[in-house]
């Protein structure tokens, strides 16, 4: 491509890969060294009345946003044509569903942020990393919503499935094509960059809890049993907590499983 600069390659190839590497390696390191810090950092014990509205709105909204992005970015449009979803149907669905979901999500995060600012107990435990994360999270949400409203609702409609989507897939397939992103409207570009930055900082924020969705709970027996010998987690066994082979051989070790404790 002739009109591609080094800067474009940095923005649309290097930066996403750096973010992806940070996302993956960061999670592994955090899991390895900071399982104790891996939590949803819920503030519900401080304040519940606003959270019970804001939190489900935001979370269900963001799950919808995620689903929409999977369909729009990862699934080639030809596949959707094949199952009968043509350009027009997709456009209508994506625009209207997308707008509704985006507004719910934004309303949710506004409630949550307002609560965080207004309730001193919560403000007091908000960390710098929380603030940084909220800037990028809210930024990506707002930029994305503006893009949808400006181009899809009010404008002619921008065909991101011809540019942004193939670019996303080109990254995943390790055949990055930065030129696809060069002519994309600024607001879409900013949305993509903001989201990429969010992925970059993800593992170092409270967002780690997203990877802990406890789906396994649905399939587990209610009561979990564990032997005191079970050592789980990545920490090295601390001195004083390792098994003593001498005494163990003297007495038969109590070892018996009930249910399917992990």
């Amino acid at each position: 491509m002739t009109d591609m600069t080094v800067f474009d390659v940095l923005l649309w190839v290097a930066f996403p890969y750096v973010a992806a590497a940070s996302f993956i390696v960061g999670h592994i390191l955090r899991y390895r060294y900071d399982k104790f810090g891996w939590t949803s950092r819920s503030s519900q014990t401080y304040e519940s009345k606003w959270l019970r509205w804001g939190s489900p709105m935001f979370h269900y909204g963001i799950l919808g946003v995620f689903a929409g992005h999977v369909v729009g970015l990862l699934i080639p449009r030809e596949w959707l044509y094949f199952i009968g979803i043509d350009e027009h149907t997709y456009h209508l669905g994506a625009t209207w569903l997308g707008t509704v979901v985006a507004l719910i999500t934004i309303a949710g995060i506004v409630i949550l942020l307002a609560r965080r600012g207004a309730v001193r107990r919560i403000t007091r435990v908000t960390t710098v990393m929380d603030v940084v994360m909220y800037v990028f999270l809210a930024g990506a949400l707002v930029l994305g919503t503006i893009a949808v409203i400006q181009f899809q609702v009010l404008g002619e409609g921008y065909d991101y499935r011809g540019t942004v989507s193939p670019w996303t897939r080109s990254l995943i397939l390790f055949q990055p094509d930065a030129s696809l992103m060069v002519g994309v409207p600024l607001i879409f570009q900013l949305h993509v960059l903001c989201s990429t930055a969010l992925f970059l900082i993800w593992p170092y924020t409270r967002l780690v809890h997203v990877l802990s969705v406890p789906v396994w709970y649905l399939f587990r027996p209610y009561v979990v049993y564990r032997s005191r010998d079970d050592h789980r987690g990545a920490r090295a066994i601390r001195r004083g907590w390792e098994k003593s082979p001498v005494i163990e051989s003297k007495h038969p070790k109590q070892k018996q499983r009930v249910g399917a404790g992990r």
């Binding site: 390895r32 399982k35 104790f36 891996w38 939590t39 949803s40 950092r41 819920s42 503030s43 519900q44 014990t45 401080y46 304040e47 519940s48 959270l51 019970r52 939190s55 489900p56 269900y60 001193r120 107990r121 007091r124 809890h209 802990s212 406890p214 396994w216 709970y217 649905l218 587990r220 209610y222 009561v223 979990v224 049993y225 564990r226 032997s227 005191r228 010998d229 789980r232 987690g233 990545a234 920490r235 090295a236 601390r238 001195r239 004083g240 907590w241 098994k243 003593s244 001498v246 005494i247 163990e248 007495h251 038969p252 070790k253 109590q254 070892k255 018996q256 499983r257 009930v258 404790g261």
Partner: protein
Amino acid sequence: MRVMAQMSMVMNLDKCIGCHTCSVTCKQVWTNRDGMEYVWFNNVETKPGIGYPRYYEDQERWNGGWIRNKRGRLKLKSGGRLKKLATIFSNNDLPTIDDYYEPWTYDYDMLVSAPQTKNGPVARPKSLLTGKDMSITWSGNWDDNLGGSQETAHGDPILDHMSEHVKMEFENTFMFYLPRICEHCLNPSCVSACPSGAMYKREEDGIVLVDQDDCRGWRMCVSACPYKKVYFNHKTNKAEKCTLCYPLIEQGKPTICSETCVGRLRYLGLMLYDADRVLEAASIEDEHELLDAQRSVMLDPFDPEVIAQAKRDGIADDWIEAAQNSPIYKLISEYKVALPLHPEYRTMPMVWYIPPLSPVVDVVSNSGADGEDVRNLFAAIDKLRIPVEYLAGLFTAGDTVPIEHSLKKLAAMRSYMRDINLGNDANENIAHAVGMTGEEIEAMYRLLAIAKHEDRYVIPKAHVESARDLEDFACSLDTDGGPGMGGARSTGDVLATARIPGTPIDATVESFHSLKNLTDPTEPSTSGRMNLLNWNGKGITNGMFPPPADSGSPA
């Protein structure tokens, strides 16, 4: 039959004087940390009263424990698995910190640093959540000794189920104390509600614990526990709970709350139970039968069949012997004087209580009659409906019969032993009236009244201990904000912060440094002052006294 062992506790409420020593010592050991200021793994409630957290017994409000559905199966009252995941973003059954109380400290510095004024300086209460001035309106035992309970106790869910007359009268009638810890249930609803699988029941001794590395702060355990004995650490954002002092139990030592109980009213020991029958017993339809159902799950440790099966299930010989000598087995299964707390929650709790006879004795004595005469006491138990019904609401899902049996045994013991103590002939009829023999009564008296240390606590050691483990015990739970009280902040701090995550702490080195600091506390916690807690009593060290007013000029 599948035999499992459960470390259990019985508390003799007749002897509880409500001194809160158990709560204080427990707090010092386990919850004296940031994020846990409002938490009492052990608390003592005045009954009647609304408890801690407020109204925790009202399951219509908190949806704790289990319910039996139409098909006769148990379901978490707060909803099944799918509902748990669907409501994971906001747990509407969760108590907020205000339902416990807003923790506070005092502006102590004001007392020494205030300028000279006409009036003495005051240490004002400051909220530990906001750092601002606050007015104290509630705490962990605000209605202690029925203080202010004219205002609050009408919310006591047990009183709610009793008549209007009782509600007006209770304050003149009776009062007793209820110390509470985690129940370490056989069918724990907290464990069952944990989406992460971070909570578990230990196979060896049944202690219910939270894996601090696995907990993700979904908070379902806090609301699912009907006793509200799982707490949310608002600094680490993880669940924490009473551990039954397992590091001590594993060494054969009693828990902190038991060891420091001045009334010597706590008993610790093993119970063998049939794990296969727990669910069936917890699902029995009639709530009044839950007590007997749970008793039937407990196994007789002298039964040769049980012993053989216990051995097959990997329970060591010394543990079986400990189960045979267990004071818990005697109180629950032999004498049948101990009763579970709120069996209607269907969690099969394993901290049981001997109901207090003292309210009854007080009434008899205050009326001028002989409070140790068995006929007077029996008549009073039959006649005094208020305490009996209240106790039934607490311990037997409303069935007064087991309460009467238990109280009558205590009354019989009182009368029977009085005759002996006065040098009269023992009256076997008293023993027979409650279905016991004189010998049994005397054995029960030794256990309940004499209550020797070795009789109260029959705790077999865990089978992995070694001398070296004991040495390093002190640092094993050291994590920032973790249950190990946040590590050696003032003494061995150099090592604590410099260590690479995941590597063990060498306690020997650390204690060496601590000792060095003790002899020369050059690093006081407040600059310019000396921490007296670290002072070894030898000599004068820096910061012990304020510098001379005019250090520049000779005196």
